[in-house]
Symmetry: C5
Subunit: 305 residues, 5 copies
């Protein structure tokens, strides 16, 4: 996720890492190369009686734009849903901790245990979605007995949730909380479970591969043929206009592909590290445990990871 | 659902089974054939004073692209909704089992019974949606008395849910759980019922047949006439450009039709077997019943079923 | 709702009753007639210095296609919402009956009464939405005292719901169920009330009439003028291309109008009879009341009503 | 909201009050006038070497159509949301009254008081949204003490809700209902509060004014310049085609503006009087208070207000 | 948010501050300047054999319009979601206060404390979203002990919510309210927490920067090249038509960017001050604390902030 100081619009247009320019450089260069060929060969292939006019490409280009619009919509919805799920995670953590603090205002020990399980849940979810090793974070946050059980499980995040459930079950067994309070807390754990399941769903179910394939085939072929259709009108201007049109189509295609997996670490993905850090800071602050960890800073490309 | 190792983009463009290419081969061949006819007959039908120009086809093609966009949207929404329902199924199974484990931490027998009913529910739903025989899976999972009742029912999945209800009702009758806990568990069963009813709705209610029919008629006719409109400009290039435009339209149409029934077994449908396997692994793991079944592997076309 | 055996795609294209072809025959014939006039008069009106070129029609046609896309979206959303409401009805009936069976496993009488009220609710809703006489179905299902009260009410479906409420209130008055169980059952009745109110809303509130009017005026006029714009390029081909373009636009317009009232009995509307039948079969089966009524079969046009 | 007997499609096309024709007459006349000027001046301004061709207008027209589609979507969503809120109001009134009747079947006095407060809530909301004086309706429905408190408040509808809360609070104070029942009734009042707040939000927050402004500027200018672009091809036909294209664009723009405030009294707005009347009839019928007020009839333009 | 007296449509078209005209003046002037250059150089660069025709720009313009439509949709959804969250805030405040008044009708002190915490919550949220100093408002509303704790926290709005939780917890500790009432009040606080988390999410997560960048690059380049493509047809009319088309595209782009952060203080953003003022007036009125603060008036540009 790119968080940059608001620059003058002119400098923004020159930005390299923020947009997908770095990814499509090769294809744009290829396009310029083909355009030059088209200009050079123009005289020759016109004598063959072949006229590639812009008309069929106009029809095709608009159809492709409509389909690209559809695919971007689908990719962007996934990003929005993923972001909303992580937003819900922060909200639920706050609600659970507020509830604990209000009901057991004096049991600092218990508060701290719940707080650390909740924080561990978010870091573990992050590691699960990015397929990285959660060991460092879990070791930092979990007591040994729980840690051992969690890291031996094939589904560690869900296991942490189970332990959160046991903690609340203990209170009920000891008659510290009534069934009414127990089931209201249990509901809040269910909402964490929704976040976990929702993120797993987005992560495991890409947009049907055929959409990507059909669009990329047509976009690439369209950009390849375009110079030959433009050359009869534009002559020397062909490479310039052709690369401009190609940029529009290739960039939208590349961006849709990048957004499709919102849990990655490219420039336009969700800054899961920063969100986990925010959740941890919020949780500790609510429990009055100081000092808080520092908020994460964007890297030199203005990206948060 | 296609889960493939991330290949180089160049090889992806040659993919045969991932996209719908195999389905539309016949129609694309037909299109090339008609294009060749158009090229051969061009001289002759121009003398008749008939000019099929690209202009009306441009208008029509864009209109069809807009309508195809609409239909793809509708089909894709069904896929997303179906996937979300199966995601909810996994989430609810976890919630029910966590709740049981927290409330009855020592009653292993009871835990196991609920766990097997829950797993049977997902397999039975899969078989119902794909109209296959659930016998093998139910036999493996259900105790004899329940099995008999379930397979004699015309609505076996709903019957399993009823037995889940009876199990929870027993706890209430024996005063092991209070009414508050009972109704919170009952609500979780209601959410399973939502999944069941939602999947049945998607499965039994296709997108209105007229949408499919109107679009296919216009797309097929459009692709058939297109070569005659292109030939006056493109001459020998007609087959190539015509098959390219036809591919774009036919592939989107074919994909929308494929996605319409998300519970099928074609390459872009939901991998219900893999999801059921995941649900079973999760459920058994939560109950500490080992060894877990192996996770499913994609087949040689990188497809999960 | 058209449920047809999967035919070969070629025969599907010739389908007459499934699509809206039968509705727009007159207008398509008119279009052919005007096209022929355009061809015949072409020489004459060209001498007047009037050139109706395709360009302004291209602009207009695309604009109309965009607006048709919008209207189809709105109509289709209504269909989807209506179908979801009826899906919820089935789900809620199951939940209510499961709840009753679990809580009062031995009171067969009471179970049967609730079951029949629930079934009567769906049939009554169907008759209300289609403005048909519910008497036959209500007489079959309701005990005399309730029947009398229901048919004398101007809002019979809501009255049945009130009686469902009384039934549950009785249990509470007799201390058979606690307030916790009562209010959870009452919530399930509220969900039936949502279905009732939602269906009434869709049925009583059409898409603003001006949308229909503006679109139909522009579509009809567009199709009427189109032949005159095509004739200068297409000559003898005018009727053919003109009727093809007109079919695309008229069929989408006609389908949007048909879907606008999803509770009607045309080919693409919801099969309310079949859904009510399914609800009845499910309810009776859950109560173990046999034999079940037969499932409905599609008519000779493959339509369920 | 236009509720008209289904006419023959031919007569519908001539409808004056149903569509927005009456609103855009002036602008359409202006367009014809400009078209005539364009036809008359054509010879003269062609000698100046200025060719306004249709091509840039085609591009602009399609862009405007896309943006109009977006704005209509936004306006229509507001209408749908507003209608859904009023549908929820009816549903909630029924639920509250059913709940009261089931729990206090014999306390007719109390039932009547709640019923009248509920009815007063809907009328008061209607008057608030249309900025009319609620006095007549409130005087008819509320007891003097409450009436006085309500009309002295700057937020009368919310005040009625507060009194509904007090009524339910009384039952709890007198131990007629338990906390469980109280909070379930309180939740139903919260849903009324959602309707109130939702309607206020729609009413107080128009679509950003800039959307309206940008679109109207471009649409008006587009329609003004269009005749000059059409005249070189169409000559004497210019006024006719120009007014046709302008009608399409102006009517969609005017309709979007009309729908933006769904609580107004123009032909395509929500019939709040009729809905309030329906709510009152439903509420009285549930309480068995007869005779019911008459249902509202559409006026001579087939409009319900 | 622009709230203006409904003017005559003619004067509205001249509006300067309501639309984004003031923001894009520079770019429109640049466009006129380039158009004039295009007109002046036309003879010269035509001799070079370069024809920039409108056809490729038509294709590109429509593609850009489709993508602009997508981006506006995304921006507008954020505005709608943000507005809905603030609407929910008002609704929840009313619900919490009504609940308190109904349950503790005689404890004026307690009512007032809750009321002031609730009001402080909204002002604090406003200051957090606009990154302004909340001190003045918090000082006015909070008692000293809470004030100190809140302003020392890095998350003051969430801290206020925690104190609302403590207040309700006190009632439970003192056995004034049962667990059932406590958890229903706690749920209402959770809904405030949803609003807080939702607003933070919108504020911290812009639309992926690449969308803005890709669109602005293509829109600016498109508008820069357009005059050269128009000049061969339009000659002296080029600046006029070019600036018109550019206005359409630049204004939509600028508006989408403005709406992206709905919590800002530009003309089309949410009037958070006015909403907070409304919330405060509602809360005080419900607690019968008079006189109410005055409602906010729009400034001289008809804007509410």
């Amino acid at each position: 996720m790119v968080i940059r100081p608001s620059q003058h619009w002119f400098f923004r247009l020159l930005d390299w890492h923020g947009s997908v320019l770095s990814k499509i450089t090769f294809r744009l260069s290829l396009n310029i190369f083909i355009s030059i060929i088209a200009v050079l060969c123009y005289q020759w292939y016109e004598q063959l009686g072949v006229h590639l006019t812009i008309a069929p490409f106009s029809l095709l280009g608009i159809a492709i734009a409509i389909f690209l619009g559809f695919r971007n919509n689908a990719s962007y919805s996934r990003l929005v849903e993923a972001r909303t799920l992580w937003g819900t995670l922060l909200i639920q953590q706050r609600n659970i901790l507020r509830n604990i603090k209000v009901i057991l205002p004096n049991d600092n020990n218990y508060q701290k245990e719940i707080c650390q399980l909740a924080i561990a849940f978010s870091w573990s979810l992050k590691h699960q979605l990015r397929k990285t090793n959660p060991m460092v974070d879990l070791y930092r946050l979990l007591p040994t007995t729980i840690l051992k059980d969690v890291i031996n499980s094939p589904f560690p995040t869900n296991r942490i949730l189970l332990h959160l459930g046991f903690k609340i079950g203990e209170l009920r067994d000891k008659n510290i909380i009534s069934d009414v309070i127990f089931q209201s807390m249990n509901k809040e754990l269910n909402l964490l479970s929704d976040v976990l399941g929702g993120c797993e769903r987005i992560s495991n179910t890409p947009i049907p591969f055929a959409y990507t394939l059909i669009l990329q085939r047509t976009v690439y072929l369209f950009c390849t043929l375009l110079p030959f259709a433009l050359v009869s009108d534009l002559h020397y201007m062909t490479p310039f206009v052709s690369v401009f049109i190609s940029y529009t189509f290739l960039a939208w295609d590349a961006l849709a592909e990048e957004l499709e997996d919102p849990f990655g670490i490219s420039a336009n993905d969700l800054p899961l590290n920063a969100i986990c850090n925010t959740i941890e800071r919020n949780a500790l602050e609510m429990m009055d445990i100081h000092p808080l960890p520092m908020p994460l800073k964007p890297n030199k490309y203005f990206n948060l990871l």
